[in-house]
């Protein structure tokens, strides 16, 4: 079993965070135990061969089942320990905190699996982490990697929506409703008006932005908390969307789902630009993926490099100072919510215009995409670029969950892990604060010692 190895790695991380040098010993011990257990698992025959053989043989023999998970843990542990050596950089603090959240989520998830059924727990967590890698053929791997990416794009958009608003001081829980509105507009334009894809995308963005503006206006003119208005609008939008998409010509009369876009309006689908050929001809691979990444970069540039971003962030950090310096603080808030809404709406378009999924008109709760978006945004350290990675990770384990052995477990174990990760993300501020505190204390202690030394020197 790999359990002892994982325990050792966790000990290593613990010591790394505690700033102890022992961490490397624990890490080494972890690696050693890992190798040994895997070697034992690969069978006596091979083991016999290995003892006499060279080290290169040993590495090639490591094709044991636990390889992926252990690699992930080794890499995670290694990265965290490496980052702990450079604690002063904000980026490395954020990364450490995020990785600790991921690790925490995985460990608790693993414990839950152990409680349900100990024998298959390790395979299950491994399956979740492997996702498309469970397929052995490279072509199917690429195909399912493609499917993961297709769903990563909308998730990333939702995360961008959340983090954009958050940077301007608002918690856009209403991104869920804006996403739903985007889905509604995209599908309605695609199915009812048979509009081309770009019109559908624009309509989705406009619908999301419209909801965002409502929230923003309620905030600036009526002092309604954005979280509260967002929650209300989420449900209102959900019911409206179900109504609109149940209309004739939009809903499939035989099922609760909307009509397949591919059948009635192929122009409504996002163009593929031959990207699908890279991913085992997975039809749903479209320009949505590069588009989402480009949007992430645009958001980063806008927030960090432009006058507009400077104004928005100033408004978010200190509403009064923004007003004092003559920024149009109310306009900025409404504009932020509009942009945030447009991003979420576009996210929905990037999913429903790929033809991979139809809207279920009897759905009774707001889709989790947005709430996952919150997880992604915080896991990504509230950075657009970090969000690209975290979006992929969350989507990766979510889809990985669908491959677990259903005789014991269910696919929701992934949702459990990702919600655990968000929960842990709430502690990110605390972790970073603790790290900064420790650095400060150490600096101060050093300064004090220097002072003492200087004084002692002058005495003599």
């Amino acid at each position: 079993m790999a359990l002892p190895a994982i325990a050792l790695f966790i000990a290593a991380i613990f010591f790394a965070v505690k700033k102890k040098n022992e961490c490397w010993k624990w890490f080494a011990a972890g690696v050693a135990v890992q190798y040994i257990t895997t070697l034992i698992n690969t069978g006596k025959d091979e083991l016999a061969g290995l003892i006499s053989g060279t080290k290169a043989d040993a590495v090639t023999a490591l094709t044991g089942e636990q390889w992926t998970t252990c690699t992930v843990v080794i890499v995670l542990a290694g990265i965290i320990m490496l980052l702990c050596r450079y604690p002063r950089y904000e980026a490395s603090q954020t990364l450490i905190a995020s990785l600790l959240c991921v690790l925490g989520g995985l460990v608790i998830g693993y414990i839950v699996l152990l409680v349900i059924e100990p024998s298959g727990a390790f395979e299950a967590i491994q399956t979740i982490l492997e996702n498309f890698l469970t397929y052995s053929k490279p072509k199917s791997q690429m195909k399912y990697l493609g499917q993961t990416l297709v769903r990563t794009a909308p998730l990333l958009m939702c995360a961008l929506s959340v983090l954009f608003a958050y940077k301007v001081g608002m918690f856009n829980i209403g991104a869920a409703g804006q996403y739903v509105a985007g889905a509604c507009a995209a599908l309605f334009f695609g199915l009812y008006f048979k509009a081309p894809w770009w019109v559908c995308v624009l309509a989705a963005m406009a619908a999301g932005a419209f909801l965002g503006v409502i929230s923003g206006a309620l905030k600036t003119f009526c002092n309604v908390n954005v979280v509260i208005s967002g929650i209300m609008l989420n449900w209102i939008t959900l019911y409206i969307t179900n109504m609109v998409l149940s209309m004739d010509g939009v809903k499939n009369p035989m099922s609760p789902y909307t009509i397949q876009l591919r059948g009635v309006n192929p122009n409504g689908l996002l163009p593929q630009m031959d990207l699908h050929t890279l991913f085992g001809n997975e039809k749903s691979v479209t320009i949505a993926i590069p588009l989402a990444v480009i949007m992430a970069i645009v958001v980063w540039v806008v927030l960090n490099k432009t006058k507009f971003g400077y104004e928005l962030k100033a408004t978010g950090y200190n509403f009064h100072a923004a007003k004092y310096s003559g920024m149009k603080e109310k306009r900025n808030i409404i504009l932020t919510m509009a942009i945030s809404g447009a991003l979420a709406g576009m996210g929905a378009a990037l999913l429903y215009l790929t033809g991979i999924e139809e809207w279920e008109t009897t759905i009774s709760s707001v889709p989790g995409m947005d709430f996952n978006g919150i997880a992604v945004a915080f896991l990504g350290g509230l950075s657009p670029i970090g969000s690209i990675l975290s979006a992929f990770f969350i989507q990766h384990i979510t889809l990985g969950g669908s491959y677990v052995d259903t005789t014991y477990y269910c696919a929701q174990i992934s949702s459990l892990i990702s919600s655990l990760i968000i929960f842990l993300c709430a502690f990110v501020g605390f972790i970073r604060f603790a790290m900064q505190n420790r650095i400060r204390k150490r600096d101060e202690a050093m300064a004090m010692r220097k002072d003492m030394a200087a004084k002692g020197g002058s005495d003599t």
């Binding site: 309604v224 449900w235 409206i240 919150i374 259903t406 014991y408 477990y409 269910c410 459990l416 968000i422």
Partner: protein, 315 residues
């Protein structure tokens, strides 16, 4: 008509219980977006008792009491997540609450599915719990009207909440912590303890609210669906009721009425002839609360210190 009254009272009971829970938490200074999640976990706790406790064992009183205790305990346990994160680690209360909502549904689904799978040897992989017989013990029939003991529970909760908040020492101190924790601290009140108490109270009431909700109209529950936004609706009721128990009760009745209308409007010729989709009725409470919020939020009556982690260092 009787059906409408019955559903109104039932839904109002749920909303009242959960909103009162939210009221305790927010009055102590902790925003509780996680009510939805607390309801799910509370419902799970209660449903398990209903499923596994034989009805013959002590009959209705034991069943009702055991269910209540189980859901309250489950809700409180789950609310500890918020308490620890928000009070001890000064985590962002909105993120924590959001995470709790997701966590609750995922955890409940995983747990129920695991149990069903294990019990059936792999045939039943649903997330349903069936509790038909146990549910019957909650109900007393007066002609066509089904009186549910939980309506009484909600009423008692209302009276107790009012008395505790306004007539007792605990309430005075709790409210002080939500308004001005520094002032409370300066007169020797332990703000952290009071906030824990507030959040735990919300877990207790939210948990009970959860079990009342899932047993309101049906005899089995699919935990994958969570509680379909009822926790959020309760949040709206709480704000609508301006964090005051009596006003919350009135708001709960109003919202419960609209919610019930959505369930039974087909029984009224007048409404049926309007031919509105049921979605409209579902939407109404949210639209009304949004409108009212827009009109009344200029001078917010929310506890002043809510959402701000209390740090002993800053005075």
């Amino acid at each position: 008509m009787i059906l409408l009254l019955q559903y109104t009272l039932l839904f109002a009971s749920v909303l009242l219980l959960v909103a009162l829970g939210g009221c305790f938490s927010e009055r102590s200074g902790v925003i509780n977006i996680g009510l939805e999640g607390i309801m799910v976990i509370g419902a799970l706790g209660g449903a398990l008792v209903m499923k596994y406790l034989p009805v013959e064992f002590g009959g209705a009183p034991v069943m009702i009491l055991a269910t209540l205790i189980a859901s309250a305990a489950a809700g409180m346990l789950f609310s500890l997540l918020l308490a620890v994160a928000a009070i001890h680690f000064k985590a962002d209360q909105t993120i924590t609450g959001t995470a709790m909502n997701m966590l609750a549904t995922a955890a409940a689904t995983v747990a129920v599915k695991a149990m069903n799978t294990a019990a059936s040897g792999g045939h039943d992989v649903s997330s349903d719990i069936v509790y038909t017989r146990a549910r019957d013990t909650f109900i007393v029939r007066f002609g066509n009207f089904e009186f549910n003991w939980f309506m009484l529970v909600a009423l008692i909760a209302l009276i107790v909440s009012y008395v505790v908040l306004y007539k007792m020492r605990f309430g005075l101190r709790l409210r002080a912590c939500g308004e001005h924790p520094q002032a409370a601290d300066s007169v020797g009140i332990n703000v952290y303890k009071m906030r824990y108490a507030g959040v735990l109270a919300s877990g207790l009431l939210g948990g009970i609210g959860g079990i009342v909700y899932i047993t309101a109209g049906v005899s089995s529950w699919k935990f994958e669906n969570g509680v379909a936004g009822f926790g959020f609706l309760a949040l709206a009721v709480m704000i609508f009721g301006q964090w005051k128990p009596i006003k919350i009760a009135l708001a709960a009745l109003l919202f419960g009425f609209f919610r019930a209308l959505g369930n039974v409007y087909t029984g009224f010729d007048l409404l049926k002839n309007l031919n509105l989709p049921s979605q409209i009725y579902n939407m109404l409470p949210y639209i009304i609360s949004l409108l009212v919020l827009a009109l009344t939020s200029k001078n917010s009556l929310a506890p002043k210190a809510e959402g701000i982690p209390y740090d002993k260092g800053t005075r």
